[in-house]
Point group: none
Chain length 217, copies 2
DNA sequence: TTTGATCTCCGCCTTAAGGCGGAGACGGAA
DNA sequence: TTCCGTCTCCGCCTTAAGGCGGAGATCAAA
């Protein structure tokens, strides 16, 4: 049995797979045993190939990286095998760091990482040491504080009002769409403002749009 | 003078650059003359190298692909030179297709494209034929109805005010960040409202966020 | 030079927004 | 039953927002 690190690449961007496998092939200790172009394929190949390390993209159609990670770790835990999964992603998707780690990811790297950093992360992963790159540490800290998104505390009605504000409606317009009085809308708005710790409806509108709480678009 | 196609790659993902340049180098007719890791660098290298074709990623820090595209086409139009810019992006960012084409992009490809498709698009671009992949055709149809975005008519200052409203700021806060009086802010806000045909700042905030005019995030 | 666009600021006025406090109705949990 | 959360609505009050009209300064184009 030779002790090269068996690596599986899961990414729907052909050029990313190409780049990675081209570079990793130049490394003596690394052996790219497979490439998958979506999460579903990734899970199948992981189970079949049992790689030591899996480089996993997050955003993919068919099945995303988080689901795939979850499936792989669950399956392997039942068969006493352990593939280290390294999440590879763009900086834009950093809000998915925590879910990914929860799903069983071992390391986290940004796609902007230099090739040698990726190699290092693969070797470290093989040795049982995880790598968390980028603002991940900060993000983890920030998220541990937040825990629950503030709008989770809103009542059903308050959430409806929030959504309407997110569409840019006035109290009068909201009153009409929800078939209630303007005074009532005002009450809900006040509650929303205090629960979200915001000062005015404009900030609420921004909040709603940032958190994609407008149900349209 | 040899007639190989001079290509510049602009992408902040090292592995994408690696993959592309590795593959394109195997093509006789193509010559990768440079790689840039962000929009700013991309603009500089474009001006310096005058490539025939530029492969441009959209999402980058420092300067995104749209701004870079705009700068490059503007600069080149003044010096009667013409680089064809091919936007390369993930399917998630398809809402940025139109802004990219408006900015002067020539073709549009998804990163999931096969390597040979990219080569084909490069050759076509050199011959003056653009390639629009994915749902782009449909998106263009849908958007062509819209005409010009209303916010194009805003002055520079009004646009700044618009952005601040998009962050949820009050007139007082905007006045402070822009170092002008509240009265002046009000004037700008009034102009923004009438130009965008909106009734209040909340709708402006929604508009700004929908059109990704907040420059943060 | 004249003109037009832009940015800056003023006063006056009306109204929507939002805080504060109170309250009745209803339904589920203790 | 009592209690609590939620939804509904009221009045009173203060302030931010926004419309309307006017105006001076600057700068570039005609």
């Amino acid at each position: 049995m030779d002790n090269r690190i068996r690596v599986l690449i899961v990414d729907d961007h052909e050029m990313v797979r190409m780049g990675l496998s081209a570079y990793l092939s130049t490394e003596d200790e690394i052996d790219v045993v497979g490439e998958a172009s979506n999460g579903k394929e990734g899970v199948e190949m992981a189970l079949a190939l049992r790689p030591h390390v899996i480089l996993m993209d997050l955003v993919m159609d068919e099945m995303n990286g988080i689901e795939a990670t979850k499936l792989i770790t669950e399956s392997f835990s039942k068969m006493s095998w352990d593939s280290k999964i390294i999440i590879l992603t763009s900086f834009i998707e950093e809000d998915k760091v925590m879910p990914a780690l929860d799903a069983g990811a071992f390391s986290y790297l940004l796609k902007t990482s230099k090739a040698e950093d990726i190699v290092r992360a693969i070797k470290k992963a093989r040795e049982g040491e995880s790598t968390l790159e980028g603002k991940v540490g900060q993000v983890m800290l920030a998220n541990s504080r937040k825990k629950t998104a503030k709008h989770e505390t809103l009542t059903e009605r308050e959430m409806e009002v929030l959504k309407e504000i997110g569409k840019g409606k006035t109290n009068k317009e909201i009153a009409e769409t929800l078939f209630i009085g303007v005074k009532t809308v005002k009450t809900h708005v006040s509650n929303v403002l205090s629960k979200l710790e915001l000062e005015d409806r404009t900030k609420v509108a921004v909040y709603a749009n940032k958190h994609h709480l407008t149900d349209d678009m």
